[in-house]
Symmetry: C2
């Protein structure tokens, strides 16, 4: 039995929960990552990039947002390594950086489609 008067859960349960909990910093980073997915403009951009790489202006036009907004959000996506950029003359083409993006979004879609 526990000598901790504040917890109702068993001692070994408490222990296991605390043992399996990743360090705070990692949990913080994880939340930060999901925060990036937590905006419909950024989700739209990612969806557009599912099909092909696109330049900033095309993204803005396709999604009906301003060039500035697109640029700001692409920066967020890039910093968080969800997209990568390729420069060609005065244009910059963005594309998805890896398959995690697709997987995470798919899992999310599965959840809301229930």
């Amino acid at each position: 039995m526990s000598d901790n008067e504040y917890l109702r859960a068993e001692d070994d349960t408490v222990k296991k929960v605390l043992d399996e909990m990743p360090p705070d910093e990692m949990l913080y980073d994880l939340a930060e990552l999901f925060k990036v997915f937590g905006d419909s403009t950024r989700i739209k951009i990612l969806y557009a990039l599912f099909e092909s790489e696109l330049c900033v202006n095309d993204i803005a036009t396709l999604l009906g947002i301003t060039q500035t907004a697109a640029s700001h959000q692409l920066r967020v996506l890039k910093v968080n390594k969800l997209v990568k950029a390729r420069k060609e003359g005065k244009m910059i083409f963005y594309s998805l950086s890896d398959e995690h993006v697709t997987k995470i979004i798919s899992q999310g879609m599965e959840h809301i489609e229930e």
Copy 2:
């Protein structure tokens, strides 16, 4: 060739991007879902529930947050169907509602671990 002077992408690329894009409402819902994962307190709660169902006070104590904060966040998690509640006397036990939660978090972890 395109007669749209504003787009540089090919016509069929533009068409495909727009065709594959889910309706706005769905993209909004998807962003809302990820927003729920985008907070470290909620991530911690979900991680704690990986191990076992827990009552509100245990969650609060284990994570070092107030009962009120735990309750508020559990409400958000419940509304978004990430956790479910089971009442037992005056206590309410929360647990993960399905395996999507685990999968989404795992995918996120994979991404930040690179």
